[in-house]
């Protein structure tokens, strides 16, 4: 038993639309608790209070491949963090290893500043490319993480092994680190070295947990349903030959 790619896309689309409209009348549907997001919210509040800075690493994934999805999750996080902390003493900064993501990060921050009515305080250095290869990106981002003003680093994007350097630097500076990536090697490294790792698809839940709107929550519920569909299909596919053999 198999579903084609288009059937999966169609099913996912229907589920997102269903949960978006159903969610409007049913606000009690709760999301399970993910400690990483709980602690990130607390860190954002603390950083605003104590005047420290948050650093969002958006990774080095471009916008043309599947890694773009994690970069977009990082941009969602950046927008939410900027909306809360942009008018603080030390506004959040974003680093990336890709030109296109840098442009999108600058655009995201510029709009956050505009929404808060502080457009004149926006500066292009708030979102910057620190290097264009994995390790040059990490090497360029390290001084920003080790900056005494930075109290937390969130890695949300496409990373490889270089994620370990970024989280080690955060540990060295005594800050809080949260990390999520679509890359499995990076996930293993982040599990070992980040204070709060985001495993598997948790990185895609960023928008839903950081209050980005009902569609983000709806897509999270859609993912949950699709996961169960996949599990059921696996079980049925595994059992079918068994029953076929009995006939």
């Amino acid at each position: 038993m198999n579903l084609s790619a288009l059937q999966w896309i169609g099913l996912c689309l229907l589920l997102i639309l269903f949960f978006t409209f159903w969610g409007r009348n049913n606000s009690k549907r709760a999301l399970r608790s993910i400690p990483a997001f709980r602690q990130l919210r607390r860190t954002i509040e603390l950083s605003v209070e104590d005047g420290s800075r948050l650093q969002i690493s958006l990774g080095r994934g471009g916008i043309l491949g599947p890694e773009a999805a994690t970069a977009f999750a990082g941009l969602t996080l950046l927008r939410q963090v900027a909306d809360i902390a942009a008018d603080s003493d030390q506004p959040p900064i974003a680093t990336t290893g890709d030109g296109a993501i840098m442009l999108l990060a600058q655009d995201t921050l510029r709009n956050s500043y505009k929404r808060l009515g502080i457009a004149d305080q926006y500066h292009f250095r708030l979102a910057q490319t620190t290097g264009l290869t994995p390790f040059s990106y990490a090497a360029g981002a390290l001084p920003r993480i080790l900056d005494r003003e930075v109290s937390a680093t969130a890695l949300a994007g496409s990373f490889g092994e270089e994620a370990g350097l970024l989280t080690s630097a955060t540990q060295l500076s005594g800050g809080f680190s949260l990390g999520g990536s679509e890359n499995l090697t990076s996930q293993a490294i982040l599990f070992a070295s980040a204070d709060q790792p985001l495993i598997g698809e948790e990185i895609f839940a960023t928008g839903a947990y950081m209050g980005s709107g009902p569609t983000h929550q709806a897509s999270l519920h859609a993912q949950d349903v699709l996961r169960w569909v996949a599990i059921l299909l696996f079980i049925v596919t595994a059992l079918l030959p068994l029953f076929g053999g009995l006939r």
């Binding site: 896309i9 390790f135 598997g200 983000h216």
Partner: protein, 206 residues
């Protein structure tokens, strides 16, 4: 000049092109259109790469002007300009550009890899101090099993690890976990793409 994406127009363009790409999976006649759009996207990504390079230059130039760690920034700017000029002159396959890559960039990145190996070993050793939970214990246990099953250590081979437990972890448990994670990531990617197609998630325009 202040370049800024106008959100409604950008949303319309993103949705329209997204639907064309999706429709091309159903309608083979749209294959040429899809290839053309993808070529434009690749070209735009190349321009964005150059803008990333320009941003790096601009940031360090301003650091130099503000006299913030100006020694590092001046070395970076000079190295960047020299390498860029040589690559423009000789082309990306040129001898000098290749020499710079093989003798400067590659050793520096390799040394960072070595630093990473040490920092990860320390991080793995400290994991139980940071998080005392079942998953951390499983992680540490798996690391030990994989190290012991990777081959003879100090000339001593432990067959129970190299021939029994190691292959079970490598061939069954880790492959299963890997597929589970990949399915989750795929579903997340699918949902992200659809949110953009629906116009509810706009990474452009904030």
């Amino acid at each position: 000049m202040n370049l800024r994406l106008q959100t409604p127009l950008a949303t319309a363009v993103a949705i329209a092109f997204g639907f064309i790409i999706l429709a091309s999976l159903l309608i083979p006649d749209l294959m040429d259109v899809r290839n053309q759009i993808l070529n434009w996207a690749i070209l735009l990504a190349a321009i964005a790469l150059f803008l990333g390079f320009a941003n790096l230059f601009q940031v360090h130039l301003q650091k130099l002007r503000n006299k913030e760690k100006s020694a590092y920034s001046s070395i970076l700017i000079v190295a960047m300009l020299v390498t860029f000029a040589i690559t423009l002159w000789e082309g990306s396959q040129g001898v000098t550009a290749a020499w710079i890559f093989n003798n400067i960039q590659l050793p520096i990145e390799t040394s960072l890899m070595a630093v990473l190996a040490i920092s990860l070993t320390i991080a793995a050793a400290q994991i139980l101090q940071q998080r005392k939970d079942l998953m951390s214990l499983v992680f540490i246990g798996t690391v030990f099993i994989l190290i012991l099953s990777s081959g003879p250590l100090f000339g001593i081979e432990l067959p129970v690890f190299t021939r029994t437990i190691g292959p079970i972890v490598n061939n069954f448990l880790s492959v299963g976990a890997l597929r589970g994670l990949l399915i989750g990531v795929s579903l997340g990617t699918l949902a992200s793409g659809l949110r953009i197609l629906l116009g509810s998630d706009r990474p452009y325009g904030g």
